[in-house]
Symmetry: C2
Subunit: 226 residues, 2 copies
C-alpha cells in the first residue's frame, strides 16, 4: 500500500467493541450504518425462515468483514450472531465512502473482499445442491481449514473449532443427528477427527480428493491490487 492509502486507513475511526456469544449484533430487517471487522472469535451470518428454520450462510473468522453487504444494501437481509465472545472494530459507512473517494484502490480491495465472499456463498450453494452429506461435510471443514490457515489459526494438520454439531447442521443443511453420523463416518474412514473443539486432519490429500475441493476461490489475491 502507498503512504497515502495508509494515511487514509489510519484516519478511520477505529472504535473497538466486544460482543458476547449468542447475542445477535445484527438483526434481519434492521437497517444499519456500520460494518465491522472481526478481530477475534467466531461469528455466523444466518437467515431465518417464517417457519422458524434457519440456514447459516457462512461463519466469520478473524479478519473477515461483518455486515458489509447490509451497509451497501442499506438493509440487512440476514442476522449475525457471535458464536464465541468476539472483538470487533467498527467501520462507519461515511468513513468508508470517504476513503473510497480518496483512494480508489482501497475501494477495489473492499470490492475484492465482497467478491470473495460471494464466491464462498456460491461454493456453499453448490455443496448443498449437489454434494452428498459426507462430501459436503468434508468440503465445509476443508474450507474452514484453508481460511483459518490464511490468518495463521490453523494448518493442514488441523485447527481449533468452537462450532457445535448443531451449528454445523444449520450451516450444511443437515440434521444434527446426521452431522454426528457423518463425522463418525469420516473418522472411521481415517479422514479426520472432530473432538473437544479440535479438528484433526489425518489425511489432507485424501480429503481434498474426496470432497472435490478446489481452493482457488479462496487464495487468490485481487489482481487489481497488484
Amino acid at each position: 500500500m502507498t503512504d497515502a492509502e495508509l494515511r487514509v486507513l489510519d484516519s478511520l475511526d477505529k472504535r473497538r467493541r466486544t460482543f458476547v456469544a449468542g447475542r445477535d449484533l445484527v438483526h434481519q430487517g434492521q437497517s444499519n450504518q456500520a460494518a465491522y471487522i472481526l478481530m477475534s472469535g467466531w461469528a455466523c451470518s444466518y437467515k431465518l425462515l417464517a417457519d422458524g428454520q434457519r440456514q447459516i450462510v457462512d461463519f466469520q473468522i478473524p479478519g473477515d468483514f461483518l455486515g458489509l453487504r447490509s451497509v451497501v444494501l442499506h438493509i440487512s437481509d440476514h442476522s449475525i450472531e457471535p458464536v464465541t465472545d468476539i472483538e470487533v472494530t467498527e467501520v462507519h459507512v461515511s468513513d468508508l465512502m470517504e476513503a473510497f473517494a480518496q483512494t480508489p484502490r482501497l475501494a477495489t480491495a473492499v470490492f475484492w473482499a465482497v467478491s470473495r465472499d460471494e464466491a464462498m456463498v456460491v461454493e456453499h450453494l453448490v455443496g448443498i445442491g449437489r454434494r452428498d452429506a459426507a462430501e459436503r461435510m468434508a468440503h465445509f471443514l476443508l474450507e474452514l481449514c484453508a481460511r483459518l490457515s490464511l490468518v495463521g489459526l490453523g494448518s493442514k494438520a488441523g485447527f481449533a473449532c468452537p462450532l457445535t454439531q448443531y451449528l454445523i447442521a444449520d450451516a450444511v443443511g443437515l440434521s444434527s443427528v446426521h452431522v454426528n453420523r457423518v463425522l463418525r463416518h469420516l473418522r472411521e474412514q481415517g479422514f479426520l477427527t472432530f473432538r473437544n473443539g479440535f479438528v484433526t486432519i489425518h489425511d489432507y490429500d485424501g480429503l481434498v480428493r474426496f470432497a472435490d475441493f478446489e481452493i482457488s476461490y479462496l487464495d487468490q489475491i485481487g489482481p487489481l491490487l497488484r
Copy 2:
C-alpha cells in the same frame, strides 16, 4: 447521475457482441479481462463438479452483469452459458477501473450490483438448504418474476420464460422428473401454470405466502446512490 458521470459512462468502449444459445462464453478456470452487460436474451452461470453434475447458480436477464466477479477475482470460478441467443456489450476491466478512479459514485453503483448479486445467491442457498421442493420452485419463479418486472419483461400476471425443465432442475437442485411433478402440483393448487415458455401466475399473493417470499433483497436502490 451527474454530467461528469454520464461523460465517463459514454467514454467506455461499448463493443456489442452476440453469442448463440448453448455455447459457453466464459469457462470455469479461465482468467478473463472483460465483463459484459446482458442486453437481450437469457444466460445462466453454473459450476461443474468433478463427477459431471452441475449446479446453476443463477440466471441472468437483460440488464444484468455477466462475469463481473470473474474479473475482480481474476479467474472465473464458474462458467456462463447463453440459454437463448444473447446480445451483450463488453466492458473492459481497465475502462472500469478508470471509471472508478474518476467517479467514486460509479464504483459504488457497481459495488451495489455485486452486493445484490450476493444477496440473491444467499437467497438461493437458503432455498436449497431449507425449503422443500414446492416452496423452492415457487420462490424461484417469484424471484424471476420480480426481476423481470423491474426491467419491464413481466408482471405479477406472468412472464415469458425460455427455460426448460432440465435447466430449472439444475438451478433448484432437483431432478427434472421432480420439477415436472412440482410444476403439476403448483398448477393443480391453482397457483400458476408454466406451459409453452410462459409462466402464468393465477394467485400471486397466495404464492408469495406459500413460498415465504421476501422481495426486499431485490428492489432496494442502493442508499449510497441517493
